[in-house]
């Protein structure tokens, strides 16, 4: 097969559109890292679990897809609070490995629950109605309607989160806790409440990402958990730990990069190049694209 420049650009376009899911997950990781300077390894698992619950509840009550896209994020948020309580709230913050290991445990637990409940087989996720059929041609390049939908919903969600962080009382408190926790406490802010809210919001974003990923792929399966965890983390690191803007841009670029190497090197080798990209960043630009160099004492 001969790869033309049109193919290359087309695959990058598809990848960037799908990359908005990585961006969402990256923003979720970043929100939690910003709040506690800790990684929540169970994050992508709870996102997929949220999407499963949304799908399941809608199926049982025979509600439509719109409700799934509402319930998925909601349950994702609730699982987020649960993970916070189990893995973060009561483990002393100076125990850096404690919460990390606990959240890895939660990742496996959630994964196991999904596998047991579904007998390990993937479920069909409803297509996005008119969006699935739509296909826009711009010159020689095509834009898949469902991926456009994914991008728009992701961008709307991420914009809302940024507005919440910079325009609301919760956002003020969350930024205060993230930058200087003791001073925030002295101003009367309860950091546990703020962190629980942050885990909820991150969980909502994750549940949304889970639904979008499942809708774009057409099925939902526990096999989505590992790639979302890894690629969300890579987006977080490449963007610069703690930078929301960085996670968004890195997520989109990562999608494009991955799709390009899928085209050029095939599905078996694709992830090797993704990890190579991570490796290059860790060696040459360990603070990522927008990493903060301000020292937080």
């Amino acid at each position: 097969m001969v790869i033309t420049s049109v193919d290359v650009i087309q695959s990058i376009i598809d990848g960037i559109l799908y990359g908005s899911i990585y961006a969402l997950i990256g923003v979720g990781f970043t929100l939690i890292f910003g709040a506690m300077q800790k990684l929540n390894m169970a994050y992508a698992a709870s996102s997929i679990a949220g999407a499963y619950c949304g799908l399941g509840i809608s199926a049982v009550l025979s509600l439509n897809l719109l409700v799934t896209f509402f319930l998925g994020p909601l349950v994702g948020g609730l699982i987020g609070i649960l993970v916070y309580l189990v893995c973060f709230r009561f483990i002393p913050s100076r125990e850096h490995l404690g919460s990390l290991m606990a959240s890895i445990g939660a990742l496996f637990l959630i994964d196991e629950i999904i596998v047991h409940e579904t007998d390990g087989s993937p479920l069909n996720f409803p297509e996005l109605g008119i969006f699935s059929e739509a296909y826009f041609l711009v010159g020689e390049f095509g834009f898949r309607g469902d991926l456009i939908f994914v991008l728009i919903v992701s961008l709307l969600a991420m914009t809302s989160i940024i507005l919440m962080l910079y325009r609301t009382k919760y956002g003020l408190a969350a930024r205060a806790v993230s930058q200087q926790m003791n001073a925030a406490i002295l101003c009367g802010i309860n950091p546990h409440k703020v962190n629980a809210s942050t885990f909820f919001l991150a969980g909502v974003l994750g549940g949304l990402a889970g639904c979008l990923a499942a809708a774009a792929v057409g099925v939902i399966s526990p096999l989505l958990i590992l790639p979302l965890t890894i690629k969300g983390l890579i987006a977080t690191v490449i963007g610069g730990l703690g930078s929301i803007k960085g996670a968004i841009i890195a997520g989109l670029l990562l999608g494009g990069f991955e799709s390009l190497f899928l085209l050029v090197r095939g599905v078996n080798e694709r992830d090797i190049y993704v990890f190579l990209l991570l490796f290059l960043f860790l060696v040459f630009k360990p603070n990522g694209m927008f990493g903060s160099i301000i020292d937080r004492d």
């Binding site: 003020l172 205060a176 003791n182 002295l186 009367g188």
Partner: protein, 239 residues
Amino acid sequence: MLRIDKLNFSYGAIKALTDVSLMAATGSVTCILGPNGAGKTTLLQTVAGLLKPSAGSIQFDGENIISLSPSALVKKGIALVPENRLIFPEMTVRENLIVGAYLRLNKMQKSDFKFEIDKIYARFPILDKRSDQLGGTLSGGEQQMLAIGRALMSGPQFLLMDEPSLGLAPKIIDEIFEIIKELKQDGLSVLLVEQNAVKSLKIADYFFLLDQGQVSYQGGADDLENDAHIRKAYLGEKS
């Protein structure tokens, strides 16, 4: 009035405060002097609710406040200006002040709010100039003023200050002490922790010396100045 009775606190096996009793009268500046590691910061953090003492009581206007959370204490009118200032580095000066008023944000009208911030800016004109600058870019003295301004935004009656002169140039230290004097004139009570005994003598009404977690001396400014031992140990005078 703030009244501390037989307060004890330990960091694990290390005893930081042993039966500390002291009083800080309303409308006055009370100063706690002592060397590094004497337990001064621990004492203030206990009063502000950041640390829970193992024994003893803390009363504020006759009410036992020892089990209250930091936010409940802020509501009661007790605010701590922490050691090393701890300002929010990636927020603007204005945002730092807004966080200071966090517990009052729902109750305040926009106009009240502007009035409160303008009051801080009138007291610290340099903060007005730096209003949109990030807190992390301020100089040490400006950060100290911001930390005091932020604490004032909670509308306190009792201000706890932890070494406000730490690491500042002599001229700035004079300004900070001048501000403490003004705060007292405005009716605020201040409990001040300091190592700078010479400057503190000029503004404080009453002193406690803290040494290895215990109160080793107390008295008014005159008593302190006339005590030969104290002069030698804390005012750097040669015998």
